[in-house]
């Protein structure tokens, strides 16, 4: 090559040029045809997929009263790259924030550890969920703050300060939800509890998307193919609840200053008319900028206002268990048509009677007088009816019969087919439990005698208690309690294991409670009411005050359960509250204003914040 004739060097140079051009063509082939990631790179560069949030469905009560709606809210966003000549003090004044807040927030935004998707080219949220009043001054002066923008979003607004536990709230989606449901993106909002959670997919609608073209500085340059590829959002579906907001309101007012709950159900439909849990809070506290501060305060409150006691608190039902017990024991043969059991009043053994009354007693008196020895005797007779048998198997089989019958009233397990959020299961102790605790043959009727009077291991939630009343009012069945009025739930009818023939006498007994017994002071003169009080001992202070019932006796419209924790006698607190809620629902107003005011202003627990 070195000693070639020089003309031939032309070919060396040609070869060099050809090799370079071929290498470049090969490189082009590789970039443009073999590799695919560059195509995606160009798309993620240029396309800004702007989500269009549909309006969330509204929520109404059973009488079409608007409970929850949307109001516009505003986010202040910024693009770090575009901010220049910012007069920080002026800016802070316009947004009514402190200089420290501003500095901290800017540091937070730029911190890639906290703000994973940070880029100085893309919009970053500076402040979120501001009201129109909060941003009005800022909006006017926006031209002074280049790089800052106002973005629209919506917030929930509430017509009534009631029903927070039922309605629930919405908040930023959790990491878990983000991972499990591809619909959600970081920063989206979704129902976190209550019906906002249960009916999330209906309420939220379907997000739309607008594809915008974004230049290298993050500025929007127009719509991609004039919006051809955009998707319109679908508005959320409105939700009609079974709730009667007026009844809910009266319930919450009556429970003011007390800890406990009240649940009302329409027996014929299983529709939940009211579900009060106190301490309660205004649902609008969990909206907007103050959400996290308010939430933290509610979490810290020792009276646990965030807990929905109506579905999550579990209590021994005590004497309010007796009507169900009377039904089940009739079915099992522990109580026959003319069965009488003796009662020695407070001297009775092994269970004392808290009342003094004639002996022996029949079923009607036993319910009216809440006679403990009667129910113990009947319970024992029912589960020992064939003795104990080999390895106690006969006894155990009748115990199982009892458990199944009690559970058929919806007690001791969650309503899995219900739309009620976060229920506790309550408890009806199983054979297995006692076997483990006492040994296979180590327990007898005597061992579990507390069950006969609704004490011991049996636990119920107020919702279960109210539902059991609905089952009695229906004489043998209940429809799963629920909150969505558009779902008739007729397919979710659950028959109890007690024959309908056994119901009238128990209903008669419960009627007597209002006519002659512990509830007589709170009877409404023109309505025949059925009920049962309960005073339940517990290891945390005063007795719980309980009441269950339904009305009217013929063709019942409402079944109810009320629990007032650590308040004393069932007849003193729970009975009047239940009575007035029945009055409100059946008559549409409270006539016993004095009684109402007296109860509504009484406090049974000084820790409870009154509203």
């Amino acid at each position: 090559m070195i000693n070639d004739r020089l003309e031939n060097r032309r070919w060396v140079i040609s070869a060099l040029i050809t090799v370079v051009v071929l290498v470049y063509i090969f490189r082009l082939f590789n970039l443009q045809i073999i590799e695919t990631r560059y195509k995606q790179g160009a798309e993620s560069n240029a396309f800004l997929r702007k989500t269009i949030f549909p309006p969330r469905g509204l929520i109404y009560d059973r009488n079409s009263k608007l409970l929850v709606y949307n109001k516009p809210a505003y986010d202040v966003a910024l693009i770090m790259r575009e901010i220049h000549d910012l007069d920080t003090l002026d800016f802070c004044k316009a947004l009514n924030i402190s200089k420290e807040f501003f500095d901290n927030r800017m540091l937070e935004i730029k911190d890639r550890k906290k703000n994973l998707g940070y880029s100085s080219y893309t919009p970053q949220v500076f402040m979120t969920q501001l009201n129109i009043e909060d941003v009005a001054a800022f909006q006017e002066n926006l031209y002074k703050f280049p790089g800052f923008y106002i973005q629209n979003r919506t917030l929930r607004e509430y017509t009534y300060p009631h029903g927070a536990h039922i309605l629930g709230s919405i908040g930023e989606v959790s990491r878990r939800k983000l991972e499990s449901d591809p619909y959600y993106k970081q920063g989206d909002y979704a129902g976190r509890d209550g019906v906002e959670f249960t009916y999330e997919s209906a309420l939220r609608g379907v997000k739309g998307v607008e594809i915008l073209l974004r230049d290298s500085k993050g500025r929007i340059q127009g719509r991609y193919r004039d919006g051809e590829a955009d998707e319109a959002p679908k508005a959320g579906t409105d939700l009609y609840l079974t709730l009667d907001i007026e009844l809910q309101k009266i319930g919450e007012q009556l429970m003011n200053g007390k800890i406990g709950s009240a649940v009302a159900i329409e027996p014929s439909t299983g529709e939940i008319l009211a579900m009060v849990s106190n301490p309660a809070f205004d649902p609008s506290l969990l909206v907007g900028r103050q959400r996290s501060a308010n939430y933290a305060a509610l979490v810290k409150d020792p009276t646990k206002p965030l807990m929905n006691r109506a579905t999550q608190a579990q209590y021994s039902p005590g004497s309010t268990f007796k009507p169900i017990q009377a039904l089940v024991l009739q079915q099992m043969g522990g109580i026959k048509e003319h069965t009488l059991y003796s009662c020695n009043g407070p001297a009775s053994s092994p269970i004392k009677c808290s009342h003094s009354h004639g002996s022996p007693v029949g079923i009607l008196n036993a319910i009216e007088q809440s006679c403990n020895p009667y129910f113990w005797s009947a319970f024992r007779a029912a589960i020992e009816k064939e003795g104990y048998g080999e390895k106690n198997l006969k006894f155990k089989s009748h115990y199982q019969e009892w458990v199944d019958a009690i559970k058929s009233f919806g007690i001791g397990r969650k309503f899995e087919d219900s739309d009620v959020f976060e229920q506790s299961s309550g408890n009806v102790p199983s054979q297995k439990y006692y076997n483990r605790y006492y040994g296979e043959t180590g327990w007898r009727a005597m061992t579990i005698r507390s069950l006969s009077i609704g004490q011991g291991e049996v636990l119920v939630t107020p919702l279960q208690l109210a539902n059991s009343m609905a089952a009695i009012a229906n004489k043998g069945y209940y429809i799963t309690p629920h909150l969505n009025a558009n779902d008739t739930m007729q397919l979710r009818k659950h028959e109890t294991l007690v024959d309908s023939a056994y119901f009238p006498i128990v209903i008669e007994g419960m009627w007597r409670v209002f006519e002659f017994g512990t509830g007589r002071r709170y009877k409404l003169p023109d309505i025949s009411m059925c009920g049962k009080t309960g005073t339940v001992e517990n290891n945390r202070g005063k007795d719980h005050s309980l009441f269950v019932g339904f009305a009217p006796r013929e063709n019942p419209k409402i079944a109810i359960a009320v629990v007032v924790e650590n308040a004393g006698f069932g007849a003193t607190w729970a009975a009047p509250i239940a009575s007035m809620m029945l009055e409100q629902y059946l008559k549409g107003k409270i006539e016993r204003v004095e009684l109402f005011n007296q109860i509504a202003t009484s406090t049974t627990n000084p820790d409870v914040k009154t509203r």
């Binding site: 070195i2 040609s14 490189r27 443009q32 045809i33 160009a42």
Partner: protein, 485 residues
């Protein structure tokens, strides 16, 4: 006037067609690159870049026409004058040019601004052609190249002073022309070897062997030298046996040092240097004793390369500033930095890669429309072709350049006068260098050196410069059929 005197018949129309194709494709690409999404204007709107480029094209064609009408002897007679004027302009520029993006290379006269560096390429090509076409001039020894080096060096330094590194580097292109004119091929080969060694040393310098016992970069580069020390003597008959012995010894040294390393840590850098040095010294002595210059050359080159490797390592790690280091590292794929130094190249690769086989269509490129690619109508103009016209479009452009270069060399070879031939090869070399660096940069296989793509990139100065360069060649070529007057 006979046909021989009429430029219409003597002009090399093939070249003109290639030229026009490139200029028009460039114009279309500039329209695509500077097109605003909401802009409704046409390619001829003069407030837009494409409209302005249209003006540059028309004036460039006029300029080319004027050149064709001139007497071809002017270029030979006044070659040094042109060169002198260019040098003066370059000097003046340093003092009067405003600072535009850190470079002081533009002379601004009213609305017109131009870069004397563009003229300097043409002037230097003419001066070199004039010097090399002297009676009896041949590149035979190093001293013959000294005047050429000076002719190149003056504009090179002046342009460097204007902070236009890219344009200055273009003057390296003349080496290719020198090779055609007789410069020893070994000079080009050594240049290539130096680049390969530098890349190997830097690319693998961070990959250490064992527990900091040397770097793969140094050992790898020395391995290349050792291979040269074995292959070159092997290819010349009398030393086959010794070459094989050295091959065996080299392998033995590797095995031995790995085994010794089990008990006593070995510095592999020194092992490699030692082995290579011993081989080189042996060849040097053998060469001297047996009077075999080729062996002496091999020994020389080896020792020189060892020094070069040491120097590369030193310069890169201790002399270069961090931002230069990063540029080189990004280029060598050692650092992934899509927002910093690698941003431009990354976006340009995305633009080209997203074009696919057929491209997104004229004016449909998102990367270029939305300004992700920097300098998209000047240095990165090739991106627009890649994005909007895909593989076929960009390959077509490369092929037209290839045809043009081949054509220019063909023109060069058919000249009777060496002045013409030297000038033709200068033009080919300059255009090739621009093509190689510019497209290589856009494709991410060359460093980011900002030089325009000839005839394609936006700008009157560069279009005029290249048009002048090419049309002078066409004028000279046309004269070969003229009767001497």
């Amino acid at each position: 006037m006979s046909k021989r005197d009429n430029i219409q018949y003597t002009l090399d129309w093939t070249t003109v067609v290639y030229y026009l194709l490139l200029v028009v494709m460039g114009w279309i690409s500039i329209y695509g690159a500077s097109y605003e999404l909401d802009y409704e204007g046409s390619m001829l709107s003069f407030d837009q870049r494409a409209g302005k480029q249209f003006v540059w094209i028309i004036t460039a064609l006029a300029l080319g026409g004027v050149v064709l009408l001139l007497d071809h002897r002017i270029f030979n007679y006044f070659a040094y004058v042109f060169y002198g004027v260019a040098i003066v302009l370059l000097i003046v520029t340093i003092f009067v040019a405003p600072d535009i993006k850190g470079s002081r290379s533009w002379i601004v006269i009213g609305p017109v601004s131009f870069q004397p560096a563009e003229l300097a390429k043409m002037a230097t090509a003419l001066a070199l052609a004039k010097f090399m076409s002297q009676y009896n001039y041949r590149i035979k020894a190093w001293k013959d190249m000294l005047p050429l080096a000076i002719i190149i060096f003056i504009p090179f330094v002046l342009i460097l002073l204007q902070k236009e590194t890219g344009s200055a580097l273009v003057f390296m292109a003349f080496l290719l022309m020198f090779y055609r004119e007789g410069m020893k091929g070994i000079v080009l080969l050594l240049g290539a070897l130096a680049i390969v060694l530098f890349i190997v040393v830097i690319r693998f310098s961070i990959e250490t062997i064992g527990n900091e016992q040397g770097s793969w970069g140094v050992v790898g580069a020395i391995a290349i030298i050792q291979l040269i020390q074995i292959i070159v003597p092997f290819s010349s008959h009398p030393h086959k046996k010794e070459s094989l012995i050295f091959l065996g010894l080299s392998v033995l040294v590797i095995v031995a040092s790995v085994i010794i390393n089990k008990w006593y840590p070995v510095d592999y850098n020194y092992v490699a240097i030692g082995t290579s040095l011993v081989t080189a010294i042996y060849w040097a002595f053998t060469g001297i004793l047996r009077r075999y210059p080729k062996l002496i050359a091999v020994a020389f080159i080896s020792i020189g390369s060892l020094v070069f490797i040491y120097a590369s390592d030193m310069i890169f790690n201790h002399v270069l500033e961090p931002h230069h280091q990063i540029r080189i590292k990004v280029l060598l794929n050692m650092e992934d930095d899509p927002t910093g130094a690698g941003y431009n190249v990354n976006q340009s690769k995305i633009a080209i890669g997203s074009g696919g086989l057929w491209g997104k269509g004229f004016l449909n490129g998102t990367q270029t429309k939305l300004k992700y690619v920097p300098e998209q109508d000047t240095d990165f103009i090739f991106c627009t072709v890649g994005e909007e016209h895909g593989f076929w479009g960009s390959a077509l452009v490369l092929i037209i350049y290839w045809l043009l270069l081949m054509r220019i060399m063909k023109i060069g070879e058919r000249q009777k006068e060496s002045f013409h031939r030297v000038y033709a090869y200068s033009v080919a070399s300059i255009l090739f260098f621009h093509l190689m660096i510019n497209v290589g940069m856009v494709l991410g296989i060359m460093p980011v050196i900002g030089i325009p793509l000839p005839f394609f990139s936006y700008g009157g100065s560069s279009l005029w410069g290249f048009t002048l360069l090419l049309f002078i060649l066409l004028r000279l070529d046309a004269s070969r059929l003229e009767r001497s007057r």
